[in-house]
Symmetry: C2
Subunit: 242 residues, 2 copies
């Protein structure tokens, strides 16, 4: 008689914003205890986010001998293609969990904020309802940006809005008016429109631009107008504080 | 001839949401390299936040032999009293920095989010303009809450609002309508009004309550209506996700 193997656990592990030292002790322990490191590769939008997350993880934790499982998770609005990609990824993960192997799915920053981990969980659960799923939170890129600029995101009672990419400038005007702090993530596509908006609101001196926060080539720019016409990279954040 | 002592560095160190394992490697290194651990004691509002931060730090890092510098930073609207308290705290810190000692000011979660660290920095800089100031970002309580509940804070393109304590219910209604996710921090004082609002918006099944996220006595409640009449503690978060 053979005993049935206990399912491994699936972990969503935030590796933090970029500096491997900004990984948590728990992230390091969980990664080192996992046989499989799953790396989402979202073809298209995030140029090197996947390889960046793996590079951070391998500097902060010992990954030698582990299987690196690359999962293709395209950024597309085609629902059928999305579903198929997620099913394929989930079944690759479930195959490892069934063998009793723990799988750590790594993401830049925090797994519950703009990561593809949460999309995958229901697919994995459908295949293996009994496999434990755990999330290890991580330091977000906007906390790292605020730390680098030494700009408080919020003080007592302050309301904060977090807005990812693709801005509707009129909507943004209202959100800036309605909050004490507005964090704009992946601001690269809209810098000139944003600078115009801030100037029209008299807030051009209330904004800080941070690119690649906590990375060795981090950049902090307090004179936001100097970025007019510039093409900042994907990993750029603007903090507007009134 | 005696050489002048180089000023120590002032660090704002986030120790994370509660679980000592959610401290970053950098927080541990910086704390262990600091001669002085400054602990803000904000009499009044946050019952045991200060001692909680110190307890986390002492579990995640070796603090033996270090000076524990307790700073009284009252939560008051009396501007003169606030200024005096901050000046007193800043001068206690500056006294250590002048002797070449590094000082780590610890906060729960992240130092740039609802912490008193940012208030102190200008006072210390006035006394010692040349002392380096650095911020070590930490995992926030809302990332930990989302991780425990396995509720994504935001998926691709989602807009997130973070709102601390003391709610104006009509304002909150508008913010819930205007965002994909709303995070309510320190929700303890307003649970019944909040439950009423969520029910009136048909969103009572879209909210998760998390108390003491990542602590050993953490509590996750998905049936928010069951909390009617309850008095949750200070460290409680509600995530509303549409």
């Amino acid at each position: 008689m053979t005993e049935s193997v206990k399912n491994g656990a699936l972990y969503g592990v935030g590796v933090g914003p970029g500096d491997p030292e900004l990984m948590t002790l728990k992230a390091v322990r969980v990664l080192e205890g996992s046989a499989v490191i799953a790396v989402p590769k979202s073809a298209g939008a995030a140029p090197d986010a996947a390889s960046r997350a793996l590079s951070i993880a391998s500097k902060g934790a010992e990954l030698k001998g582990k299987e690196i499982l690359r999962l293709l998770l395209p950024m597309t609005k085609d629902a059928a293609r999305l579903k198929e990609a997620r099913q394929t990824a989930a079944s690759a993960i479930a195959g490892r969990l069934e063998k009793g192997l723990d799988v750590s799915f790594i993401t830049l920053g925090d797994p519950m904020l703009y990561s593809t981990f949460s999309y995958l969980v229901p697919f994995v659960r459908k295949l293996l309802p009994d496999a434990p799923v755990r999330v290890i939170p991580g330091v977000t890129s906007f906390s790292a940006a605020a730390a680098s600029a030494i700009i408080p995101l919020a003080e007592s009672g302050g309301k904060v809005a977090i807005i990812p990419a693709a801005y509707d400038i009129e909507d943004l005007r209202e959100r800036i008016a309605a909050n004490d702090t507005v964090v704009l993530m992946k601001v690269n596509r809209a810098m000139d429109a944003l600078i115009g908006l801030l100037c029209s609101m008299g807030l051009e001196k209330n904004a800080v631009f941070v690119s690649r926060a906590s990375w060795p080539d981090e950049e902090v720019v307090t004179d936001i107008k100097s970025l007019k016409g510039a093409s900042p990279d994907y990993f750029s954040t603007v903090i507007i504080k009134k």
